[in-house]
């Protein structure tokens, strides 16, 4: 495996800029997820790494080699497509064999690599079936085996799980992650599903409108989003626009006073719903009275919109545990909510 260096990559389709100023270093054996809403440029970037799309500007290195102008079939990347893209006229074993034949691997070596690859994804017993005789999850496993059999320098996956149903999605995701870690694969995983990205990646790049918004570990991005888009896109957050009136004292436009950690230029603050307690918690320096505007029962938790006195809305999650089960939470009922100043995230704008 190899590291990947992407430097100031740009792609323009006619006048439309699909990707701009994209720079990223992927370490050897690291899994980076590209996450963002549809149309933000994830696929375009991945396909430039694979060589299907020629960049307008910038460069891509795989290992020490500049591959920016190398044709697809000489890049030695292993790609997994959303709709599996298996060869319909070939059996499972022939599908896996294809890439090996193209790389002039023959005889015993080829047979043993086919066997290893199929074994890896637990598809050995299906080797003589045709793709149409397999379920979606099985087809995607074969596609993974086919891509890995050629021992690619980089493993590329474009929304590989989005055609699978929810349960299978988690199963195949965990399989991909454990393969990736055991084999030390340098991997780019494109998805629009944040839970998927958080669960699978070492680092993730959040993209919007053809630009990277933030790159970091799942925990860094979730706990310290660098801007409003990232905070809003990843998980839930209640936002308050306003100003610092004194150090550590924020006043929202609707007049709510909130204690925050000290910051420089602050135009907006946010708080995650799971960081808010019901009742006046002893460690919380922000305590508010409010009225429940709506409460949605989501099984493991209750999702509450709380209207504060000035009209601001606070979104909080009450876990459905033994202590909260008896609390009456109905629209219109009063509720006290509290949170720590250190849990507030500050944004410049």
């Amino acid at each position: 495996m190899s590291k990947v260096s992407i430097n100031k990559l740009k792609k323009q389709f006619g006048d439309a800029v699909a990707l701009e100023d994209f720079s990223l270093e992927i370490a050897d054996g690291e899994l980076v997820a590209f996450l963002g809403p549809s149309g933000c440029g994830k696929t375009t970037t991945l396909r430039m790494i694979a060589g299907f799309i020629e960049p307008t500007a910038g460069s891509i290195h795989i290992g020490e080699t500049d591959v920016t102008n190398l044709p697809v079939h000489k890049r030695n990347t292993g790609m997994v497509f959303q709709r599996y893209a298996l060869f319909p006229h070939m059996t499972v074993a022939q599908n896996v064999s294809f890439g090996l034949e193209m790389h002039n691997v023959s005889g015993k070596e080829r047979d043993s690599r086919i066997a290893t690859a199929l074994d890896m994804v637990r598809m050995t017993s299906f080797r003589d079936r045709y793709p149409r005789q397999l379920s979606g999850g099985q087809q995607q496993r074969v596609a993974i085996a086919r891509a890995l059999a050629i021992q690619p320098k980089v493993f590329l996956l474009d929304e590989p799980l989005s055609n699978l149903d929810a349960k299978l999605r988690v199963e195949v995701r965990e399989e991909i992650r454990s393969l990736q870690q055991n084999l030390g694969l340098t991997t780019v995983f494109v998805t629009h599903d944040q839970e998927e990205a958080l669960a699978i990646s070492d680092r993730m790049a959040i993209m919007y409108n053809g630009r990277v918004q933030q790159i970091g570990s799942p925990k860094e991005l979730y706990d310290s989003p660098s801007n409003h888009f990232v905070a809003d896109f990843l998980g839930r957050m209640s936002f308050f626009k306003g100003n610092l009136v004194a150090n550590g004292r924020f006043v929202s436009e609707a007049g709510t006073n909130i204690q925050v950690a000290s910051g420089q230029k602050v135009g907006r603050i946010g708080i995650r719903p799971e960081r808010i307690n019901v009742g006046a918690h002893p460690e919380s320096d922000n305590v508010f009275d409010g009225w429940v505007e709506s409460a949605a029962y989501l099984g493991s938790l209750i999702d509450i919109r709380l209207r504060l006195q000035g009209g601001d809305i606070l979104n909080l999650h009450v876990p459905n545990n033994a202590s909260s089960a008896n609390t009456a939470i109905a629209p219109g009922s009063p509720l006290v909510a509290s949170f720590r100043s250190s849990d507030c995230v500050l944004f410049a704008e």
Binding site: A50, V72, H73, F81, L86, F87, H89, G99, M102, H103
Partner: protein, 286 residues
């Protein structure tokens, strides 16, 4: 609970629904049978007539015989026509399919400037009356003969080239439809696994297009084999295709030899279609 309620409802409404379904399906079947009869009746009558004993057919026939088949067999212009038609159709369909696949590939894949126009141009032989096209090609050949100083009209090559114009539209149509239905990421997967564009095409795309190509070959063969109008101006003395031989015979005779020749032709094309259908389900392609 809900499934019980649902089954009650369906039990109550079932008789009415079933009766309506039965009526409409009966009507549907009658209609389909009529369509089949309408389409097949000329064929049935031709085959039937080929066994009539009378030289001038009338109903009911005074008896049945195989002598018209013998007379067709002994007629050299029919036999030579059959051989020539077969050769022309074979060469024209193979050539047309190769050119047509290449054209379809260019049109669907590259979508170059003017590809729509090229597509229409390649399909246009389907729209121009054969007799007009035949005369146009004849005039063009005369010009070309003057310039190149070789014979074209009346040669095998001249006839084949004209028939290639007939076969290309079928291939372009069928293969570009087949190609548009392919998932482009399959060929991309092949490229990603180390195949050059040519290897990806040969090992992956071409096999996936096999049904379209088989169907295109079949239809190309048939349109060439049975073509009369285009060939009329282009055949040479002593070298006529089967449809022209039939027409020439009809000018002076009206006996069931023609019916016998036609019956053999129907049989041959029927066999070709059935054999093709064993390899590729035609109803799924066309």
């Amino acid at each position: 609970m809900s499934s019980v309620a649902a089954s009650n409802i369906s039990a109550a409404t079932a008789p009415k629904v079933r009766r309506r379904v039965r009526w409409s399906s009966l009507l549907h079947r009658v209609f389909v049978c009529m369509m089949y009869f309408f389409m097949l009746s000329p064929l049935i009558f031709v085959v039937w007539m080929s066994f009539f004993v009378d030289a001038i057919p009338h109903f009911p026939p005074s008896g049945y015989t195989l002598k018209w088949y013998e007379s067709a067999w002994q007629n050299s212009s029919f036999m030579n026509g059959l051989v020539l038609s077969f050769q022309v159709a074979a060469v024209a369909s193979i050539t047309g399919v190769i050119l047509g696949v290449a054209a379809a590939l260019g049109i669907v894949r590259n979508g170059f400037l003017g590809s729509k126009f090229v597509n229409t141009l390649l399909l246009s032989p389907l729209l121009i009356p054969g007799i007009v096209a035949g005369i146009a090609i004849y005039l063009f050949y005369m010009r070309a003969e003057n310039v190149l100083d070789t014979d074209i009209v009346g040669t095998f090559g001249g006839l084949v080239i004209a028939h290639v114009c007939l076969t290309i539209p079928w291939t372009v149509r069928l293969v570009s439809t087949g190609m548009a239905g392919l998932d482009p990421s399959i060929e991309e997967a092949a490229r990603n696994l180390g195949a050059s564009s040519w290897a990806a095409f040969r090992r992956v795309t071409l096999p996936m297009l096999r049904p379209s190509i088989v169907a295109a070959s079949l239809f190309s063969f048939i349109v060439s084999f049975e073509n009369l109008e285009l060939s009329l101006a282009l055949v040479g003395p002593g070298k006529t295709t089967l449809p022209i031989a039939i027409m020439q015979y009809l000018e002076f005779n009206l006996d069931p030899t023609i019916a016998a020749v036609s019956a053999v032709q129907i049989l041959l094309l029927g066999i070709v279609m059935l054999v093709t259908d064993r390899f590729v389900k035609l109803s799924q392609v066309v």
